[in-house]
């Protein structure tokens, strides 16, 4: 069972290794002179007053939700696209229904005006 | 440009309205200048604007140091239809450098009056947001007055290299 997953595992290990190497090298070799004003948030050279407890507008949250909703849909299409020959026409019909359902959701959201950026 | 008689005509009908508004007129290099009493500046400029000088090109301050009413504020008016320029000048003493603002008549005067306040210390009564524009907010002194030292570092020559502390002392 492990054989077929080997490339994916090697891929994951390599990715993690490269990321770790870059972080540790910077931490080890980079000169470290912590300064008080180096920790301050950078706001074009002036001391920043935006405290982290700041409340954002609702439209940012709405757009994030819509993005997640429609972007995950693409992820579901990948496995089907890779093995389309093996699954045959049944999978094709399946994905069409899936996409149609989501497009209904998309039209609803569109008509309700959630996509208006204000 | 309003030629000499034209300038006198303008001064004349300003005086008809308010006798002591125009103190004197100067005609130099084909350019007319009206020297106006500081109290009547708003009325004069409004009247000139209605009579055609609708565009205020520039408002700038001048320090005539030796002459007594030291601080001067110049208003460069421009009549875009007849391409006619006129300068209106106001002379102020340093003890009470107060004059009415024209920022509500021309929005262009907002920044320029703030610069005059910043550089010469002329206070514009009624200005929406009179504070320093070019110098830091907490700067003391008005840099462009003639008695303000020009500042900067003295240049090191052989004769004064011992009096001036080197940069590392």
């Amino acid at each position: 069972m492990l054989r077929s997953y080997l490339p994916a595992i090697v891929f994951l290990v390599l990715g993690g290794a490269v990321g770790a190497v870059f972080v540790t090298i910077n931490r080890l070799l980079g000169p470290r002179r912590p300064g008080r004003s180096k920790q301050d948030p950078y706001e074009c050279g002036l001391p920043s007053e935006v405290k982290h407890g700041f409340r954002f507008g609702i439209s940012f949250y709405l757009v994030a939700m819509l993005f997640i909703l429609f972007d995950i849909e693409v992820i579901f299409l990948y496995p089907v696209a890779v093995q389309l020959k093996a699954f045959g026409t049944f999978a094709l019909m399946e994905t069409i229904v899936f996409v149609f359902l989501l497009s209904v959701a998309f039209v609803y959201v569109w008509r309700r005006g959630a996509l208006e950026w204000r | 440009m309003p030629d000499a008689p034209g300038l006198e005509l303008i001064a004349q009908d300003l005086r008809d309205n308010d006798p002591d508004s125009v103190l004197s007129t100067v005609y130099f290099r084909e350019r007319g200048t009206l020297i106006v009493n500081p109290a009547a500046i708003r009325e004069t400029l409004r009247r000139l604007r209605d009579s055609g000088y609708g565009f205020l090109a520039s408002v700038h301050g001048v320090d005539y140091h030796p002459e007594e009413p030291r601080l001067g504020v110049h208003y460069e008016l421009l009549d875009m239809t007849e391409v006619d320029r006129l300068t209106v000048k106001v002379r102020l003493h340093t003890e009470a450098p107060e004059v009415d603002t024209v920022a509500d008549m021309w929005a262009t005067a907002d920044f320029q009056e703030r610069e005059i306040y910043d550089m010469f210390g002329v206070i514009f009564r009624g200005h929406p947001d009179l504070r320093r524009i070019l110098m830091p907010e907490d700067y003391e002194g008005f840099p462009q007055r003639r008695d303000f030292p020009i500042g900067g570092e003295p240049v090191l020559f052989t004769h004064n290299e011992h009096e001036i502390p080197r940069y590392y002392e």
Partner: protein, 205 residues
């Protein structure tokens, strides 16, 4: 100080190197030939020198256009003076991603604390080039409003000129690169045999 001219390599020596490289590629090079070949290619160096070599060749300048020198700084990115040939093309906007601050322009007293804060917020290792006469000394305007960069910031390279030609700024950047690589060419001190006449500061004399 006369200029010595040596030939790069006479014809036949160049031929032998070509043949050895071909044998190397075919894998037929053995014995001491192989050792000599490898020795020439590998330089034994300390980690620090390798780091300096890497840092020197990939400085990310922070776009810090103050005044007229900024226009000349912009033109070194242009096509005639391509600073990308030396690896300095990526002008970063935020101090977090930059390690070279080119102070191009005049620093007024209202701007000095901001320049100092941005210098503090840059990550180590960081270098500063004071471009133009105004940031090195007060330049043309020796008056109440201008502060020379040395007064509030450690500066590595001063580029004279008002504004300095783009080639002068490029020369300044390359001179900084030599300084990072640890062998700062002393320029006129070498040309006129004045090595050793550097002015020592009083506190560390």
């Amino acid at each position: 100080m006369e200029i010595k001219r040596e030939k790069v390599g006479s014809g036949e020596e160049f031929r032998t190197r070509q043949l050895r490289a071909r044998d190397m590629l075919r894998g037929e090079l053995e014995g001491d030939d192989l050792d000599k070949y490898v020795e020439e290619r590998v330089i034994a160096t300390k980690l620090e020198k390798a780091l300096d070599w890497a840092r020197g060749n990939a400085l990310f300048p922070a776009t810090f256009g103050l005044a007229c020198c900024a226009i000349e700084m912009m033109s070194i990115v242009g096509s005639r003076l391509d600073v990308a040939r030396f690896g300095f093309e990526a002008f970063r906007a935020s101090p977090r991603q930059a390690d070279l601050l080119i102070l191009s322009g005049r620093v007024s007293i209202k701007m000095a604390p901001i320049v100092r804060r941005i210098y503090d917020q840059m990550l180590e290792p960081k270098w500063v080039i004071a471009m133009g006469a105004c940031s090195s000394s007060t330049g043309v305007f020796n008056n109440y409003a201008i502060v020379p960069a040395d007064k509030f910031m450690p500066v590595d390279v001063h580029v004279p000129g008002c504004p300095p030609r783009p080639e002068a700024l490029m020369h300044g950047i390359l001179r900084l690169r030599d300084k990072i690589h640890g062998d700062p060419k002393l320029g006129w001190r070498e040309r006129y045999g004045a090595v050793g006449t550097e002015e020592e500061l009083v506190e560390n004399a």
